[in-house]
């Protein structure tokens, strides 16, 4: 198998149709015995970046003071170049090994060696591809996850709580700090299931990882409450937002103009003051220009509820503005909506078949338990991320070729 694929990939070159076939070969076997080819346009782009990097480097060594933008660019380029150098080294290694395959006496050893080199090379190719793409504007942000039940009644409330648990366990698995800032238990189902929840994950960069979770998650199983053993299908919506700090150090932080917000606090009707010792602490904030409304009531402190509501509001606004901008950019480039960006049904959790299928990348994980306890979720996210990288790379290639 190894040899067949190797010789095949050797022939593939950059031929598009061939690449598809090659990919099939890649997926039908394991990723580890054939190499993925970096598109020549991307290679060309990397070489251009290398020149740019050399220029910056010479400026730096001649004592030029970098501004923030330049310094950011330098860091980004140096990362790319370092991956590229690794890539070149491994590619040379690989080519040499391939030549040595002709020597029958060395063949077994060379094959062993290739088994190590190829996965390494593929990892570097992908890493390079990812790094060549522009960063997501909120890539390094912490995030908020909002969960809402969809169709399916009580079962949907219960599944929404299951998803909340999954993300909490995912955070625990990664040792990320998190906080449930809002959670409303479904009153009509005896304490089972939730009507809404908002989870804040304070880990920097968690947004970039979890943004792939946004969309409709569908569950197929026999609900606990189902007496006749029928499988039900229900759904929950997941919204992932970047967390924006309110302090002025964050360039994404915004200052609200007078009259832009309406803040309603829960107040006892009647006299107020010393007359009442109410425990009501709910806060509602309405952003008047967009109509975005946030309600928070979980904390005993109205002050804290207000802070939390502001956190949610800032996140929702940032996401809204990002989507509007992306939409505008897309129109300008007449690009297509990436299949990863679509927020319709993204995933199915089928309990009877012990599987989770992500519909964006057609990947199925046969370990539902492992995913729900947070340990295997990364396997799915990796595949979706890969899919997005591939699509965006292709877009980048098209752009480079059309210049």
């Amino acid at each position: 198998m190894l040899l067949r694929c190797l010789s095949y990939s050797g022939k593939v070159g950059v031929n598009r149709a061939g690449l598809k076939l090659f990919n099939k070969c890649l997926y039908s076997t394991s990723n580890d015995d054939s190499i993925e080819v970096l598109h020549p346009s991307l290679l060309k782009k990397t070489k251009l970046l290398q020149d740019e990097f050399k220029l910056l480097e010479s400026q730096l060594s001649s004592g030029v003071e970098f501004k923030i933008e330049q310094s950011k660019k330098y860091t980004k380029l140096s990362k790319i170049i370092s991956i590229y150098n690794d890539y070149l080294e491994n590619m040379n290694n690989y080519n040499e090994l391939k030549l040595m395959l002709n020597d029958e006496s060395l063949k077994d050893e060379v094959i062993e060696e290739l088994k190590l080199t190829i996965p390494n090379l593929n990892k570097l190719t992908n890493k390079l591809k990812t790094n060549l793409l522009p960063d997501h504007p909120f890539a390094n942000k912490p995030c908020l996850i909002e969960l809402r039940p969809g169709v399916g009644g009580n079962e949907s409330n219960i599944f929404t709580e299951d998803l909340l648990e999954m993300y909490i366990k995912y955070c625990q698995f990664h040792n990320w700090s998190y906080e449930i800032i809002s959670k409303t238990i479904n009153p009509s189902s005896g304490g089972k299931g939730i009507i809404e929840a908002t989870l804040v994950i304070n880990e920097l960069g968690s947004y970039n990882r979890l943004r792939f979770e946004a969309g409709v998650h569908r569950v197929q199983r026999i609900p606990e409450t189902e007496t006749k053993g029928r499988i039900h299908t229900s759904a929950s919506g997941v919204i992932v937002l970047p967390k924006i700090e309110s302090n002025t150090n964050d360039p994404n932080a915004r200052v609200f103009k007078n009259g832009e917000l309406r803040i309603d606090v829960m107040r006892a009707s009647g006299s107020g003051g010393q007359h009442v010792n109410t425990t009501e602490s709910a806060v509602r904030i309405v952003h008047l220009p967009t109509g975005i409304t946030v309600n928070i009531q979980d904390e005993r402190s109205q002050h804290k509820n207000k802070d939390k509501a502001m956190t949610v509001l800032r996140a929702r606004l940032a996401e809204l503005e990002m989507r509007e901008k992306a939409e505008k950019d897309r129109k300008e480039r007449t690009g297509q909506v990436s299949s990863v960006d679509r927020s319709d049904k993204i995933r199915t959790y089928n309990y009877q078949q012990n599987r989770i299928t992500d519909h964006r990348c057609n990947f199925t994980l046969y370990d539902l338990e492992g995913c729900m306890n947070g340990e295997k979720l990364d396997e799915i996210i990796d595949k979706v991320e890969q899919k997005e990288t591939d699509e965006r790379s292709q877009e980048l290639i098209n752009e480079i070729e059309n210049v």
Partner: protein, 296 residues
């Protein structure tokens, strides 16, 4: 009351819903379960259904950045009070002292849990507040407010002192500095209103100290007197009735005599009720006008 045989969340909730609206009951049950050991849940729920304030059951009430200890015998800090204290903090942070020689020294009468005094002594006001002295005639309040000071030591940077003394007897605590800002939340519910028909909650009537609630113009008369005697430059008092605001304005005039330069305004809370009378006579503290909805 007939007690349920098993202690399920549903049973606990059903005890609470006898006295509280469903949503509030669910919320309060959650807080009880979060803050108390499970062995106390049943007792807590029964007490609450008998109108004991949640703050006395849990032993605390959040107040801005503080979480104040609460005990029976001392008035629970109100969120209407929290609201104006946070507003006052914001205004003070924006205040620049150009004419006044030093940072502000604050005096608080009828301090109770120490909520107003401690919120004005917070680190965030370290650049503008120098010291806070707080007075209460109830020894329980002095003990509790000192406990709250110790609890929030890390959040408080001003020099804070709690002293036993009676406002109505025109008590002046020993102070190292002349005071600039006088604050108070004195008892302000008149006798004829201190009942359900007067808008006072069952829980308040049954469990909170009457002497922290029952009061009227005599307290505002005393406060105006003290503001003049102590040569305060500004004041913020909580109140419940418009006539109490006018009492302050008139008595300031009366005690000052000739050359009264006090400016007074009133503030409504977010529930729409009249909540404060605010006054200033030094230009540095004109910023307090931002708290006012109208001048009187």
């Amino acid at each position: 009351m007939k007690l349920p045989s098993t202690l399920t969340p549903k049973n606990l909730l059903s005890i609470l819903t006898k006295s509280l609206p469903e949503e509030q009951a669910a919320q309060e049950l959650r807080w009880i379960q979060q803050e108390l050991p499970s062995s106390s849940w049943l007792e807590a729920v029964i007490q609450r259904s008998n109108y004991k304030p949640l703050q006395y059951i849990l032993g605390t009430q959040p107040f801005g950045n503080l979480e104040l200890n609460c005990k029976e015998g001392v008035l629970i800090p109100r969120n209407d009070t929290e609201e104006w204290c946070i507003e006052l903090q914001t205004v003070l942070k924006e205040t620049k002292l150009t004419g006044l020689p030093n940072k502000l020294n604050v005096l608080d009468y009828c301090t109770g849990t120490g909520c107003i005094a401690l919120s004005l002594a917070e680190n965030q006001l370290a650049d503008i507040v120098n010291s806070v002295t707080a007075v209460d005639y109830n020894p329980l309040a002095i003990t509790l407010s000192q406990e709250n000071l110790i609890k929030h030591r890390a959040l408080v940077s001003s020099d804070v002192n709690f002293v036993l003394g009676d406002l109505l007897k025109r008590y002046i605590p020993p102070m190292k500095y002349d005071i600039d800002l006088l604050v108070s939340n004195p008892p302000y519910i008149p006798k004829q209103h201190l009942n359900i028909d007067g808008g006072v909650e069952q829980s308040v009537l049954q469990y909170e100290p009457q002497d922290a609630l029952l009061g009227d113009l005599e307290f505002y008369d005393a406060l105006a007197d003290m503001a003049v005697k102590l040569k305060a430059n500004a004041f913020v008092f909580e109140l419940g009735y418009l006539k109490q605001a006018f009492e302050v304005k008139e008595k300031l005039n009366y005690y000052t005599g000739v050359g009264n330069t006090w400016q007074c305004g009133i503030r409504y809370d977010s529930g729409g009720g009249i909540r404060n009378v605010v006054g200033w006579r030094h230009k540095d503290l004109r910023t307090l006008g931002k708290m006012c909805h109208e001048m009187i």
